[in-house]
């Protein structure tokens, strides 16, 4: 008889196992030791584990932005995610599954009004830089997302801290260096220094090497006297994008057409049913037409670098024109890095791809005339080298000193724009400086604003070519600066 009970016992055990609730462990720590600056992006490091295999949903809520990730948790395995977020004093991290009670952790992030100086040195020597708030860091406090480097204004790192960084942290640090982040390396390993020098944007002036902490502070002080090219504001981008007035024009046409029809109906028909039908049908027709005529997304990419540098930094904006009240879900462009919402006040939900460690989709509400935008930034390999030589009689010899051909573009010198023809490698052209034109268009104006007085610049507008799909209207520019001859 007891033998007969064994299968029953086993079955009961299996059922108990099946209905057992998994226990999810959740921990969250902010990057930069919990410091950031108002309006700057940062990052939260989330660790998740469960005692039995389960599917969990992670939500990170920072201000009006939500990042959601779907995760498969396996017993004994800790899933670690570094989630980029907007600056917010309170970040709510919660995880739950259909069969497990939700877990929630509140992360506090201090917002510094003063510029932040991140100091990652193992000696623990006190560091004070006038006007800065110093944040002591260990290697694990440094973020894995390049966008999170926006939280700090300057960084001092020593060799042991650099050596303790993992691959993703190093990648983010290199991207930050390429984007002209001020970094002082304290007695770095020559190999690391070489890599960072090669990557450093703004002519390598932002990445400095120092032998002592005192030297590091002095270097930072003198570096702060120089302003590197700041990030481009959204207002300037709108000028660059020149968002077509397609939507506005269409609305104007629809309204005018409706009024014409309504006026004619009033004059000619005059019946009460028509009086009700015309506006009712026009309302439906207008809403249907608005739904049907979605204009293309705009992508604006502005890259800039120094002649001869290995990398150029770029900023990109993906603009979604709104037509109707509704909800939109768009893929985050995988070929561009550090995606985020351009306006922190804009409510947005991102889907985080845990496998790739990046944002995959963005969800947001749209309405007529509202343009929601996603911002990207990063670096791209740069292969163009420009050699400019002054000649008598106000002539400039412009030579393509690189290994790739150039398309036709503009040379900006002395506040004037000169047309430069397409040049193959080694080819050159002569520019008469007095024959330049005052260009008033947005790209030329932006290029001149971003070129220092002691430099000349070349501006190329990229051909969208076959990279552009029909739903995206691309505009790309590359600004290359070189010393003035």
């Amino acid at each position: 008889m007891l033998r007969g009970l064994w299968p029953l016992g086993l079955a009961l055990c299996a059922v108990t196992d099946a209905i057992a609730q998994p226990r999810i462990d959740l921990a969250a720590t902010p990057a930069w030791n919990g410091w950031t600056r108002p309006g700057r992006a940062t990052e939260v490091d989330v660790r998740l584990s469960a005692d039995i295999a389960t599917r969990a949903t992670l939500d990170v809520v920072a201000g009006r932005q939500v990042v959601r990730a779907e995760l498969d948790l396996a017993p004994g395995r800790i899933v670690r995610l570094q989630v980029p977020i907007d600056s917010s004093e309170e970040v709510a991290v919660s995880a739950g599954s259909p069969v497990a009670p939700p877990q929630r952790r509140d992360v506090r992030i201090a917002q510094s009004e003063s510029p932040l100086l991140g100091v990652g040195i193992v000696t623990g020597d006190p560091v004070y830089l006038e006007g800065f708030h110093t944040v002591r860091l260990v290697a694990d406090d440094l973020p894995r997302n390049a966008s999170a480097y926006a939280s700090v204004d300057a960084l001092i790192l020593d060799a042991p801290t650099l050596g303790a960084l993992d691959r993703r942290q190093l990648g983010a640090l290199l991207a930050h260096a390429a984007e002209c982040g001020r970094i002082v390396l304290l007695n770095p390993d020559p190999g690391v220094r070489h890599v960072l020098d090669g990557m450093g944007g703004c002519g390598g002036r932002a990445v400095m090497g120092a032998a002592t902490l005192a030297d590091a502070k002095e270097m930072l002080k003198s570096s702060l006297a120089t302003s590197f090219a700041p990030a481009i504001s959204l207002v300037n981008i709108r000028e660059l994008a020149q968002p077509g007035r397609v939507t506005w024009n269409r609305v104007l046409v629809l309204v005018a057409a409706y009024f014409a029809i309504a006026g004619l109906a009033l004059m000619l028909v005059r019946s009460v049913p028509v009086l009700l039908l015309v506006p009712a049908l026009a309302t439906v027709a207008i809403l249907v037409l608005l739904h049907a005529m979605q204009p293309p997304t705009q992508l604006v990419v502005w890259s800039e670098g120094e002649s001869g540098a290995q990398f150029a930094r770029y900023q990109a904006w993906q603009l979604f024109p709104g037509l109707v009240r509704g909800h939109t879900r768009v893929p985050v462009l995988p070929q561009l890095a550090s995606a985020r919402t351009c306006e922190p006040g804009q409510p947005m939900r991102f889907d985080f791809d845990a496998d790739r460690g990046r944002l995959a989709f963005a969800d947001f509400d749209t309405r007529l005339f509202r343009q929601v935008s996603l911002c990207y930034s990063g670096m791209v390999p740069l292969e163009r080298v420009i050699a400019i030589e002054a000649r008598p009689d106000a002539l400039l010899n412009v030579r393509n000193a690189g290994r790739t051909a150039w398309p036709s573009g503009l040379l900006l010198a002395g506040g004037l724009a000169h047309d430069v023809p397409a040049l193959g490698p080694g080819d050159s052209t002569i520019i008469r400086t007095e024959r330049g034109k005052q260009r008033r268009d947005a790209p030329a104006r932006m290029a001149m604003e971003r070129t220092q007085a002691d430099r000349v610049a070349a501006l190329w507008e990229s051909d969208p070519g076959d990279a552009a799909d029909v739903t995206t209207e691309r505009k790309e520019w590359l600004l290359l600066t070189a010393p003035r001859p």
């Binding site: 959204l234 207002v235 709108r238 968002p243 007035r245 506005w248 609305v251 104007l252 629809l254 309204v255 409706y258 009024f259 309504a262 006026g263 009033l266 005059r270 019946s271 009460v272 049913p273 028509v274 009086l275 009700l276 015309v278 506006p279 009712a280 026009a282 309302t283 207008i286 809403l287 608005l290 037509l323 109707v324 009240r325 309405r367 007529l368 005339f369 509202r370």
Partner: protein
């Protein structure tokens, strides 16, 4: 029975009554023959020989007023949206203002015209005039709502309130006419009440408790 009707000489040729307009001079609106006047001195709905097709005609001046209001607000809203787009600011505020303005001007015009029209021509014509005034702005309301952050429920409720007003306000005029038993007194009282309602709406629109769209 003391309603002051026009003299026979004011009647159009053929003795037919024309459709009198909301803004028209009520003394020129032909009254039905005394014998046809219903008890209590009310005027019947104007008909041209009892033609139902004509009965179903709109009140043109009221509808034109509604169309003019819609055009004016639409022009203002479209222009302000263009400015907002050019300056990179949020166009939703202009759209919300357009919604509020459309509701307010239609509500005020409805109050001023419908009570008076109800007193002059009865409920049906008053209501038709009100419908003409309100309905022609619906596409503009839909577009402005699309561009605003206003809740759909609130906008729909506001339109329903206007529709209810277009049905209810002529009843006030009708009641005045029956109560005062003289058209000229009823019209004066209706105009006064309509103006007071419009003024009250204007004052209330400034209140934070007024749930305008």
């Amino acid at each position: 029975m003391s309603a002051a009707g026009p003299s026979q000489g004011a009647r159009p040729p053929g003795g037919e009554r024309r459709e009198a307009t909301l803004g028209g001079n009520h003394t020129t609106a032909a009254e039905p023959p005394q014998g046809a006047r219903p008890p209590g001195g009310e005027r019947r709905e104007a008909t041209l020989g009892g033609n139902h097709a004509i009965e179903a005609q709109i009140d043109l001046p009221a509808a034109m007023t509604g169309l003019a209001l819609a055009i004016a607000v639409a022009l203002w809203w479209v222009g302000s949206s263009r400015l907002a787009l050019d300056h990179g600011t949020d166009a939703a505020r202009g759209a919300a203002d357009a919604l509020k303005t459309l509701w307010l001007v239609r509500g005020m015009a409805l109050a001023m015209l419908s009570v008076r029209a109800g007193a002059l021509y009865g409920w049906r014509r008053g209501a038709k005039g009100g419908l003409g005034l309100i309905s022609l702005s619906w596409p503009v309301v839909a577009l402005a709502w699309s561009a605003s952050a206003a809740s759909l429920t609130l906008v729909v409720l506001a339109e329903l309130l206007l529709l209810a007003g277009s049905a209810a306000l002529p009843l006030i005029g009708l009641f005045l006419r029956r109560w005062l038993r003289r058209v000229d007194f009823a019209v004066m009282a209706g105009t006064a009440i309509g103006t007071a309602l419009a003024a009250a709406l204007w004052v209330a629109s400034g209140s934070t408790y007024m749930p305008l769209p």
